[in-house]
Symmetry: C2
Subunit: 384 residues, 2 copies
C-alpha cells in the first residue's frame, strides 16, 4: 500500500547498484493526476544536500509530477558537481515520463560527502520507470532504507472515501526541525498546494519535529505531500489535517521504534508550562541528556538527571516547584525527592517521563530513545 | 602539594563514612592568612545544589576562611532540609576553627536528590580538623573523587616566588558554563577579592568553560580561588592571570583525560570565525554530535558529521566555504571532499578537528571526548 494506496499514484523500488550489497536503492513515485498539487518541508540545517536545494525550488512551484529517491549516498557536501548530478537525475526522470524536470523532486540518503555513481543511478531510473505500478508502494518503501531494519509505511481512509498513504525512512540522526528522514505522503483528495502546505507544516510540527533520538540534525531531511485529486473528493480541511497528522505520527513512531540501537522508547511529557515553546524547549533539553538516556537504559529512575537538564533551559519555572514522574510515579515533588523510587517499573520498552513545570497550562511531548552500547557500535562501525 | 603548595594553607582528606565503601569522602581546606581574599564561579544551571546557593552567598563577601567538600552526595534537589544541612556543615567547620560560618564555603558532589547523612558528615568535620596539615593537599584531592579514576592536582611557581596550587574532581557531566566539577585553587600571593574575581572569570572562561565531554551541565559546579597573602608577594596582575589560567588549563586537561569511558581526547579547533562567540558556538555544536563522537571512537574521519553539526548553528558562514581538517589532513575543502580521507591517522588518543569557517579572524577551541560503550555502561550501571 504505502504511497500507492491513494488513486493516481504508481511507484517502483529497484536495485540500481548504488549500494554495493545489491539491495534495493532507488525508488520512483509518480503522480498521474489529474492534479499535481504538492507541498514540502525540508531540513533546517544550513548545510543542505544538493537534492534538498533542488527539491525546495521544485516545491516553490507547488506542483510535483514525480519523486525519485535513492539510498546509498546522501549527495550532501558534494559541491557543484553534486548539484549537477541531482539536476541530471531530475532531467532523466522527466525524459522517461515525457514531462518537465521542474516538477520532479529528488531525495537522497546515505553517506555525506561522496559523489553518487551517477551513471548507475541514471540507468536505474530507466529500470524503475519500467517497473512503475499501482502495487509498487512497498518496493519503493524498501528501496529508501539505509540502517532502517524495517520499511515504514502507513495509510488511512478519509471521510468521503479519499485515501492517504505514506512511506518514510530514518533510523539515526532523528532530531528537531526534522530528523534524517525522507518521507513521501500521497493522497487522492483534491486540494490546492497552499492547502497542502499549511496542513503539512502543522502536521510535521507536532510529529516529526518532536522526535529527537540523538540530537543530530540531518542535511537531507525531506517530507513531501502529493495530491492527485483522483478520488474527486474535496475533504474538509480540518479532517484532512487530522488524517495527515495521524499518518505523520504513525510514521514518526515507526522511526523512533527502529532508532539505531535503542532499547527504550521514551516520551518526555512536559506539562504545566508557561507556553508551548517552553514545553518543547524543556522536552528537547531532557531528551538530549546523554546521562539521562544512559540511566533509562540501565532502568535507573534517575530524576536528578532530569532536573539538571531542565535547569539548563530558559523556560519559566522555579526549581523548588518542579515535579517529575517516571512511568506515573511522582518521584520528585517540589524540586526534591517525592515517592519511593523503588516503585518505578522501568522494565517495559515504553517509558514516560513527565515534567511538571508548575508555571502554566501548556504542554508538549518530545519522543526520544535511550543511549546504548549498540548505538555506539552502530555509529562507530558504520560510516553514514 | 595540590592546594597546600602555597604558604598559609592546611588541608585534610578523610573517610567520614558518607561513601558506603569506606573511601575518603570529606576534605577540608583552611586558609590561615594573613589574607582571606577569595573569589568563586558557580554552575550556570538554574537548578542549583544547596552548597552552591550557600557558597555563592559566602563568596559575595569576598572572604573565605575554609572550604569543606564532600563526595558521596551532591545535596542537590534536597529542598529546605538540604540547605539546612549545608548551613549546619558550615557552622560546624566554623565552630571547630572558632571562626564565622559566613566565611566557610561548602561543596558537595555525588548523587542528586538524596539527603546527606548529616551526622556522619558533621562527625567527619571533627576528624578532618584534627588532621589538618601542610601536607594534606593530596589527601584532600583524593577525598573529592567520585567516578574519577585519579586525583587531579596542579601547582605553579609565579614570578617573585609566590605559589599557586589546585585540586579538582570531575569525570562525567563536563559541560559548558562549568563542568561537574569542584575545584579549589589556592595562592599565597597578595591580591584583593576583586582582583581574584576578575582573574578567575577570565581563566575559567577559556579553560573549564571550554570542556564539553557529554553536553550535560551539573547542579554543583564550583571553582574557588583563595589567596592567603602569606608569601607577601604582590604579583603583576597579567602574570598572575597567566599562572591561574595555566593551572586551570592543566586541571581541565586532567578532567578531560579521565572523562567517563573516553578513549579519545578531541580538540575542536574552530578558526576563521567572524567572532569568538561564533567559534565557541560552532565548537560546542560539533563537540555535542553523538554521531561524530561515535565516528571518532571508531577511528572514522567522518567529516560529513562535522559539517552537519556546523549547519545547526547560527554562526556566520557559507556552506560552500567550509574547510575541515582531521589531524592535519584537510579532508573537506569548500564544503566538499578534499584530501584523501585514508591519509587521516586516527589511532593516537589525541585528535584535533579543525573547522575553518572562512568568515573572519576569530578562533576558539572546545575540548571533548569520544562516545564509547564504556561511557554508556558507566552511566547506566552507576547512579550518579
Amino acid at each position: 500500500m504505502s504511497v500507492t494506496a491513494p488513486l493516481g499514484f504508481r511507484a517502483a523500488g529497484i536495485a540500481a547498484g548504488i549500494k554495493a550489497a545489491g539491495a534495493r536503492d532507488l525508488a520512483l513515485v509518480v503522480n498521474d493526476g489529474p492534479s499535481r498539487a504538492a507541498a514540502g518541508v525540508f531540513t533546517a540545517n544550513r548545510v543542505k544536500a544538493a537534492p534538498v536545494l533542488w527539491s525546495a525550488q521544485v516545491l516553490a512551484g507547488g506542483r510535483v509530477r514525480a519523486v525519485v529517491l535513492n539510498s546509498g549516498g546522501a549527495n550532501a557536501c558534494t559541491g557543484p558537481v553534486g548539484f549537477q548530478d541531482t539536476h541530471a537525475t531530475a532531467e532523466k526522470v522527466a525524459a522517461v515520463l515525457e514531462d518537465s524536470a521542474g516538477e520532479i523532486a529528488v531525495c537522497s540518503t546515505g553517506l555525506i560527502g561522496e559523489r553518487l555513481p551517477i551513471d548507475t543511478l541514471l540507468d536505474g531510473v530507466d529500470i524503475a520507470a519500467s517497473q512503475l505500478s499501482r502495487d509498487g508502494g512497498l518496493a519503493a518503501a524498501d528501496a529508501i532504507r539505509t540502517t532502517d531494519t524495517v520499511s515504514k509505511i502507513s495509510f488511512k481512509r478519509g471521510d468521503g472515501g479519499y485515501m492517504v498513504g505514506g512511506m518514510a525512512k530514518g533510523a539515526g540522526m532523528l532530531a528537531p526541525a526534522l530528523a534524517t528522514m525522507l518521507c513521501v505522503i500521497t493522497t487522492d483528495a483534491e486540494l490546492t498546494s497552499e492547502q497542502l502546505d499549511a496542513v503539512l507544516r502543522k502536521a510535521t510540527r507536532v510529529t516529526f519535529d518532536r522526535l529527537d533520538s540523538d540530537g543530530c540534525m540531518s542535511t537531507n531531511d525531506t517530507v513531501l505531500l502529493l495530491a492527485s485529486g483522483a478520488s474527486g473528493v474535496v475533504p474538509d480541511l480540518a479532517e484532512f489535517e487530522k488524517k495527515i497528522t495521524e499518518v505523520c505520527a504513525d510514521l514518526a513512531r515507526q522511526l523512533l521504534v527502529d532508532a539505531e540501537g535503542a532499547s527504550k522508547a521514551i516520551a518526555i511529557e512536559v506539562i504545566g508550562a508557561a507556553s508551548e515553546q517552553d514545553a518543547v524547549t524543556v522536552g528537547r533539553a531532557v531528551s538530549r541528556s546523554n546521562l539521562l538516556k544512559c540511566a533509562i537504559h540501565g532502568e535507573d529512575p534517575n530524576w536528578g538527571r532530569v532536573l539538571s537538564a531542565v535547569g539548563t533551559t530558559d523556560a519559566v519555572f522555579e526549581a523548588d516547584r518542579l515535579n517529575v514522574a517516571i512511568n506515573g510515579v511522582w518521584i520528585c515533588r517540589g524540586g526534591a525527592a517525592g515517592d519511593d523510587r523503588s516503585k518505578v517499573d522501568l522494565r517495559p520498552r515504553d517509558v514516560t517521563i513527565t515534567v511538571d513545570l508548575s508555571a502554566g497550562p501548556h504542554s508538549a511531548t518530545i519522543h526520544t530513545t535511550d543511549l546504548t552500547a549498540a548505538y555506539v557500535h552502530e555509529n562507530s562501525a558504520y560510516s553514514s
